[in-house]
Amino acid sequence: MRENGRIMRHAALVAFQDLQGVYSWRSWIVEWITRAAGQIVFFVMIGRLVGSTQAVHFLLVGNVVAIAARSIFLAVPSTVWERYAGTLPLLVAAPASPVVVFLGRSVEWILDGFVSSIVALAILAPLFRLALPWPDALLFLPLMLVTCLSVYMAATFFGSLALRLVDGRNLIGITMSTSLLLLCGVNVSLDSLPAVLRGVAQFVPLTHGLLGVRALLSEAGAGTVVAQAAAELGVGLLWAAIAIFSFSHFAEGGRKDGSIEFGS
């Protein structure tokens, strides 16, 4: 356990070094936050188009939370970067499980997504006259943290799939983060979805975290918020288990058929 913690800490150090290579503070603010805010405002303006303040606020909250997932699903390509760096065979050959490394290796996107959502809410809530219930609104932070962790577990699993299809890493990551816009009650309420999709959404990260945020901002009661946070955490653990299984299967399969480095 202690060894795993040490490995994850070192993997996280690599992750934050990577983040510094992707963004400087200036480029994060000028490029990423502008792009993220642009995406959120794009959807919010659809609310203006349909002519409803309720829709404007629904879309604003949904997309502020969902923008974190857009960042976190960058864990899919960043998992594949390990293959480009040539370290994958060494990771598989090492005594520790590769999943320990990969769970720490892309944590920079948790921070990126978490901060992006907070900054977006701080900037856009006043702009679109969304009233925040103070001081309860501060619970947005722990709720977002749970949501980001849950999304990250799913992103790590999809990263394991991308290791098998390296030239499809962005396809997988972007498709998954876009699917969340459809499935998780980001842009339309879950009731608007067909029953099958509504059922699937219960096991998709972001759904319960977002329901918790909506409950928090509409002052629906602490019980609902806590229940949704617990459900989001449960979904995250489910995806963590799937990710662990997938990485183990990838490592064992790769050892057997020699496809770790040149499998796709």
Binding site: V50, A55, T175
Partner: protein, 256 residues
């Protein structure tokens, strides 16, 4: 020149077929079409269905060019074939145009996909009251997109990375270009800027062609889309030519 154009076109098709990432926007555009349509339907504003159809088509077309065509020259420099390309008798802008044409064709696939999603999967009737205007606007939009893609390829190579350009020219640009929400809903000070973006003209005309009632000023609006496209193509050609001439002169072809 035609031979070079065709060869470049074929090359780009082969590249696209081999890299799944290049189909990203052909996968995500139908998802966005569902999202937009569900928002419109949930609000009870069925008359806005054309907005939900045109939006993902323009996003798919633009994003495909932004992420594939925009990286043509940058990618060639990275893989070390740029010097060889420049050394061939075929003019580089023509080679870029051939590859851009293949990418634009891929971008147009999102139109068929969106139509399929809306009509077949979502079972939403989608009459086409002005087919000639719609197809004319789509063709003009594709031509203008190709012109802008050449300009993207020539511009992105000037930076250390394509990413800043791609971030700036994605969602903020869809908003500015009125691909889903008409520019009349944007703040007044932004509207003149939006008028300079061909997508705002394309979006307006395509939406009008999907709605009953007469469509005003078809000729001038089509001309504006084409004019902005030709302007971008000319700028792209000039920039590519100057970039190659300068790189030849100072001997910094690959790492300029």
């Amino acid at each position: 020149m035609t031979v070079a154009l065709r060869a470049a076109f074929r090359l780009q098709i082969q590249i696209i077929r081999r890299i799944p990432d290049y189909l990203t926007h052909q996968v995500t555009s139908p998802l966005l079409a569902m999202v937009f349509l569900l928002i419109v339907k949930q609000s009870g504003r069925g008359e806005l269905v054309p907005f939900a159809v045109v939006g993902p088509v323009l996003i798919g077309l633009w994003a495909t060019s932004l992420f594939i065509a925009g990286e043509i020259i940058t990618g060639d420099r990275g893989s070390g074939v740029f010097e060889a390309l420049v050394a061939t008798p075929a003019p580089l802008p023509v080679l870029v145009l051939g590859r851009v044409a293949a990418t634009t064709l891929l971008g147009l696939v999102t139109f068929a996909e969106t139509w399929f999603v809306v009509v077949v999967i979502m079972r939403e009737p989608l009459p086409l009251p002005h087919p000639a205007i719609f197809l004319g606007a789509l063709a003009a939009t594709a031509a203008a997109m190709a012109g802008h893609a050449v300009l993207m390829a020539a511009t992105f190579v000037l930076g250390e990375s394509s990413r800043p350009f791609q971030r700036a020219l994605s969602w903020p640009f869809y908003l500015l270009g009125g691909v889903m929400v008409p520019i009349a809903l944007l703040p007044g000070w932004l509207r003149p800027v939006s008028r300079g973006v061909f997508l705002s003209w394309s979006g307006g005309l395509l939406r009008d062609a999907l709605q009953p009632g007469s469509v005003a000023n078809v000729g001038p609006r089509l001309a504006m889309i084409l004019l902005l496209g030709v302007g971008a193509l000319t700028a792209g050609f000039l920039l590519t030519g100057r970039m190659v001439a300068r790189a030849r002169a100072v001997g910094t072809m690959t790492y300029a």
